[in-house]
């Protein structure tokens, strides 16, 4: 029984069938899961077919949506409890459409890539089961039309990430990383659940479009709506690894690399951003909550970007990078730039998946995660090298790659909010965003230099990965170049798809659309240049002078030779201490707060001990214990383990209740 269907189309459009996209991965999970060992090395076929089919359907659906088909909201009543009505339904609009395209695209490529990467793994079929389930759960979360259903998907995503991060559970580190990811995100989930309740109290419904509508009409205001929005953000903080719940994400690198790509690009971590974007109108009408979002995001992006600078594990560099980029999206939402935030989510998915899969390809070749075991790989792995560079440049925000457009949108929106609306928060976001842009380009340069340039420092002979791994890389590289143009200022269609009523669009003004990109690209280029100075020339000066990049070296030497002093005297003493200090703060201050609290508690406890504890509390405790012991001593005679004695109590109780309700 379809209760509400806002679709006005006469014919049955593909948009009505988008639930199929969600269903397909679940089906393949069931098939692979039950097929088990019989499928053996062919387990991937079902997964790729299901997710690939989902991709095709998502594209068709999105095309229809863009061509003017109405958005679809349909639901069944799941169950009713008095006045509480819980629905089970779908909501297919542009935001869902974009997420569907992202999730299915990345997931399809990861499925294909894993054929090569996971070849010969002893839990190959289980891996594909979990991968399909993971994808399905994320799609389920995205398509949900009410918060309760979303929460179900949210938890499913959490448990699937647990399975996949702990895939190599034979090593204790990996299984504890899985547990850490599960538990840390769970901390946020508690907030999410209570946020759902708060919004239900405020709005009387779990339905997301209805809640947004209520907020838009100004009926969802006041403290409880703000509290609800903040609690929802708690969930997003956990899932999207924002400070202070970001600690799980670097550890989550223990999983197989394709899983990391999936977690970081398409599923799991973007769920938090999606949640805030989905409930954006509610947040917008709770300005305090939105400011908290912006500030938490600003802090996160700086901390994470600085941390990425000092990591040796290439996956950890990318992990911190993800944290910082997620904070970018959050910050965009925090200053009210809905379109820009979602657009960055969209572009980021492509180049971050590309970078992770590229890193996986490298790790596959050198059998180590540490960049100190790499170096000079561009000669051995040309395809990986080229695609990884594309991804890095996109992340750094170099024109005309995808990251450039989305990052520029965010910075531009932050500047607009800061200058036009005079929000202090927007200034903070703007400055953090610019510094982060610089740091991003710097750490990506470092990663690329340490990985692909110089001399090979590892063992054995690295070789290019099989085609199942390189082809997805090439596809993603093309995507990383191309998708940015969807959001090209003025002419790009993206703002027409994703927008909220009342949001100011980027009008064409020379200041926003020419000056700002120039500044951000200049910042990024400066960082790349700095990166080469720092990580390349210092160590491998002699080697590079006669190598292929000699022209580049001469160019830099001629133009910026004096900068060695500048670099040695200013940048290094500042750059590294900042990064180290952040790391130190992370390790010591936060730990210090925890330890200090513990110490304070102990000290206070000692003081109180002599007076209150010995006299008052002991009496109460001993009394309570005595009472418990006494009553337990009586009750233990009931606990005989004799079934018939239990049955006797049961029948007596039944008789008592019958008498109670029948006679009175």
């Amino acid at each position: 029984m379809i209760l509400a269907q806002s679709s006005a189309t006469a014919g049955r459009a593909a948009t009505d069938f988008m639930w199929l996209v969600t269903l397909l991965p679940f089906l393949s999970a069931v098939i692979i899961g039950f097929g088990g060992k019989r499928l053996g090395g062919r387990a991937h076929i079902a997964g790729i077919a299901a997710v690939g089919g989902g991709l095709v359907l998502s594209l068709v659906g999105f095309y229809q949506l863009a061509a003017g088909n109405a958005t679809v909201e349909a639901s069944w009543v799941w169950f009713e409890l008095d006045s509480i009505e819980l629905e089970f339904g779908m909501n297919y609009d542009f935001l869902t459409g974009v997420m569907f395209v992202v999730v299915t695209t990345i997931s399809t490529l990861v499925h294909i890539y894993s054929v090569g990467y996971m070849h010969g793994d002893k839990r190959y079929t289980w891996f594909y089961t979990a991968l399909s389930l993971f994808t399905g759960s994320m799609l389920f979360l995205v398509i949900a039309n009410n918060l309760m259903q979303m929460f179900v998907g949210w938890e499913l995503v959490g448990v699937c990430s647990y399975f996949l991060i702990g895939h190599y559970w034979e090593e204790t580190d990996n299984s504890s990383a899985a547990i850490k990811a599960f538990i840390v995100t769970r901390v946020g989930d508690v907030g999410f659940l209570f946020g759902i309740f708060a919004l239900f109290i405020a709005g009387g419904t779990f339905n997301i479009p209805e809640l947004n509508l209520l907020a838009e009409e100004g009926e969802l205001t006041g403290t409880i709506a703000t509290v609800g929005a903040l609690l929802l953000f708690c969930g997003a903080v956990g899932k999207s690894a924002q400070v202070p719940l970001h600690v799980w994400l670097p550890d989550a690198m223990a999983g197989p690399t394709p899983v990391s790509a999936l977690i970081h690009a398409a599923t799991m971590v973007v769920a938090g951003v999606y949640l805030v974007a989905r409930m954006f109108i509610v947040f917008e009408h709770a300005p305090a909550a939105l400011n908290v979002v912006a500030i938490v995001a600003s802090i996160t992006m700086l901390i994470a970007a600085a941390l990425a600078l000092v990591q040796d594990d290439i996956k950890r560099v990318l992990a911190y990078s993800t944290v910082s980029q997620l904070a970018y999206m959050m910050a965009a939402l925090g200053v009210g730039a809905y379109t820009a935030g979602v657009f960055h989510l969209f572009t980021h998915a492509f180049f971050k998946a590309l970078l992770f899969l590229g890193a996986g390809s490298i790790i596959h070749a050198v059998h180590s995660n540490n960049m100190s075991d790499m170096g000079g790989l561009r000669k051995f792995m040309p395809t990986t090298f080229m695609t990884f560079i594309v991804g890095s440049l996109a992340l750094a925000g170099i024109f005309p790659l995808a990251g450039f457009f989305s990052k520029d949108e965010i910075i531009g929106e932050a500047l607009r909010a800061a200058s036009d609306e005079r929000q202090i928060v927007a200034w903070i976001v703007l400055i953090s965003a610019l510094i982060t842009a610089f740091l991003t380009a710097l750490y990506m340069t470092r990663a690329c230099v340490k990985t692909f340039f110089g001399a090979y420092r590892g063992h054995g002979h690295p070789h290019e990965s099989p085609r199942t791994m390189t082809v997805p890389l090439q596809i993603l590289a093309v995507g990383s170049v191309a998708v940015g143009f969807l959001g090209f200022p003025v002419v790009g269609p993206f703002p027409d798809w994703i927008n909220v009523p009342g949001e100011v669009h980027h009008g064409f003004s020379a200041f926003y659309n020419l000056a700002l990109p120039a500044i951000s690209v200049a910042v990024a280029l400066a960082a790349i240049w700095l990166g080469f100075q720092l990580f390349y020339f210092e160590r491998f000066k002699v080697d590079i002078r006669s190598g292929r990049f000699a022209w580049f070296y001469r160019l830099l030497e001629n133009k910026y030779y004096i900068d060695d002093i500048y670099l040695g005297g200013i940048v290094r003493p500042i750059q590294y201490p900042i990064a180290r200090a952040t790391n130190w703060i992370n390790q010591n201050v936060i730990d210090g707060v925890v330890n200090g609290t513990a110490w304070g508690t102990v000290a206070a406890g000692k003081g109180v001990y002599g007076v209150i504890d010995q006299r008052v509390v002991d009496f109460a405790v001993n009394g309570a214990a005595g009472l418990t012991g006494f009553s337990g001593g009586i009750l233990r005679y009931i606990q005989t383990g004799n079934v018939q004695r239990y049955a006797a109590f049961l029948f007596v109780a039944v008789a008592a209740f019958v008498a109670l309700f029948g006679l009175f």
């Binding site: 606990q639 383990g641 018939q644 006797a648």
Partner: protein, 101 residues
């Protein structure tokens, strides 16, 4: 004929069954007593069916279902009893207290 005659007879049969379930030590005899309780329920169902006349036919249908379920119950119950006897050489209900702490 007053319907309460049948109801009281059924209650009596049920109570005798309860006594058997509580007082018997042999697991098979406990199962026998459970059959008595199920029959008491059936008598109630058929009596109400007769009270309602032609509209009460579903009462008899439910009695049939109860009989079918009882058959299934006896099958499984005896299988469990036989398994326990094979493992422990005893069908004493009082000795089946492995679940006690």
């Amino acid at each position: 004929m007053p319907v309460s005659y049948f109801l009281v007879l059924s209650a009596l049969l049920f109570s005798i069954g309860v006594y058997g379930v509580l007082a018997r030590q042999n697991a098979v005899l406990v199962l026998l007593s459970i059959e008595l309780m199920l029959n008491a329920v059936n008598i109630n169902l058929v009596a109400f069916s007769a009270l309602l006349g032609q509209t009460g036919v579903p009462g008899q249908v439910f009695a049939l279902f109860v009989i079918a379920v009882a058959a299934a119950e006896v099958g499984i119950g005896l299988a469990i009893v036989i398994l326990i006897f094979r493992n422990r050489q005893s069908v004493d209900v009082e000795e089946m207290s492995l679940m006690k702490w």
